[in-house]
């Protein structure tokens, strides 16, 4: 029996909503899959598509991006700008062949500890089912490999 596949998931979240929601999941002692690593940013407006590419380079099988619900942004508009970028970037990744199932976006408020835990669990399960992101691993492997000729 081989070991079950444990996906590597990297999450980029805003500090005011989703990070606080993750803290709430903790204070509520909810349990969720330990596969996610969280990077804290001031606002979803600060979350650059570059971060997603770098997470993939680090071998993430899944990437999460999450922040305040529309209208709740601490900085009033950051999440509206973010939403447009995600919309465009998601379509681009999809067209290039990076499946949308591997890069997920959500709104999770500071009060939604339960949603946070459920989100992490469901995404972890989904990515577990998808398996390792082998095509991207191949790209990463190329950075280590000698020249072909």
């Amino acid at each position: 029996m081989s070991e079950p596949f444990e996906p590597k998931i990297i999450a980029f979240v805003c500090t005011y909503c989703t990070y606080a929601g993750a803290d709430l999941a903790g204070t509520s002692r909810l349990k969720y899959a330990p596969n996610v690593r969280i990077i804290r940013l001031p606002c979803t407006g600060r979350i650059s598509p570059m971060f997603i590419l770098k997470a993939l380079q680090k071998g993430a099988d899944g990437v999460l991006v999450s922040g305040c619900h529309p209208g709740d942004c601490h900085f009033t508009h950051g999440n509206y700008h973010a939403r447009r970028r995600w919309m465009v970037f998601r379509a681009l990744l999809d067209f290039i062949g990076i499946p949308p199932e591997r890069v997920k976006y959500s709104w999770i408020s500071a009060a939604e500890g339960v949603k946070f835990a459920e989100f992490i669990n469901s995404v972890t399960e989904d990515i577990r089912k998808l398996g390792p992101f082998e095509q991207y691993s191949q790209l990463i492997g190329d950075t280590q490999a000698p020249a072909s000729l």
Partner: protein
Amino acid sequence: MTKILLIDKLDNCVERWKAAGITVIGPVHRANISVYAAVEHASEFDFGLVLPDRSIKELFFPQTEPMLRYAIKKDTIDTIECMPPSGPRIIFGSRACDASGMAIDDPLFGWDYKDTYWFQRRNESVIVTIACIKADDFCMCTSLNMEPDSTKGSDVLLRPLENGKGWLVEELTDRGQEAFTQIAEFLQESADAPAQTAVVEKKFDLEASVAWLQKPENFDSRFWKEISMRCIGCASCTYLCPTCHCFDIQDEGDTYSGVRRKNWDSCSFALFTMHTSGHNPRSTQSARWRQRIMHKFNYFPGKFSVNSCSGCGRCSRQCPVDMGITETLQEISKLSL
């Protein structure tokens, strides 16, 4: 009576070479471009091309190549040197310009420091050149005092037969002879005549141009600005050039480990000479284009007694704005009249 190789037998040759552990490389199509690449069968070759889009250079000097791998530990950094894959190779169906381009760069890579990456590949490769029977508007080997059937840099020269069924074989070096000895049984004697080599019109006066370039006052000529005004500063000419050889060394990796790589770089880029201070000694595109021409026809020959151009014409052929060495030297030829 001379030795000939029939196209029909080429697949046997490929088989034989491969069986002997030799990688067989030649002009092929890959996703809408033509390149020199390794093949399984002779049927993959396309000898009908004037020359492949991408030059033979990348077989010896790839666009990116690891030099060493490193691992960062608490107090030390472990390094492992990387060498290119080793093993004999036959490059079948090079062109005279591409092959000579490699010979032009040999002294550069072997000058003060012997570039082991370059010479390992050079020493393990046999270049079989096919003389050109057709040329296009951009070919300019004759302007560089070469011919479509020049032998410089080649180990074997093949001359297409007039009947189109094969090639006359001229073994030029011991390495070439050795490679063809392995396939001796597929060669035959024949009196078939070779086809006429391509006629490549002479496009500029090299000697006059070089003399003009060597005059110090012409360094600041208005000419440079005028000729390069439309240059957009991409690297397509330098990267497709068989003789352009500049590279950059980059470390890539994460916190724990990484790879030091040697990557092509280009004098067309503003960043090429950018100083940390923000000052750029070649701050304009005209200065960069001048550098490229000066380097090829003044500085390089000054050091290695050979022009750093083999006349393939790729720079002009692929230029997004229809520039190139040909036009520049044509204009200089006119100036020097």
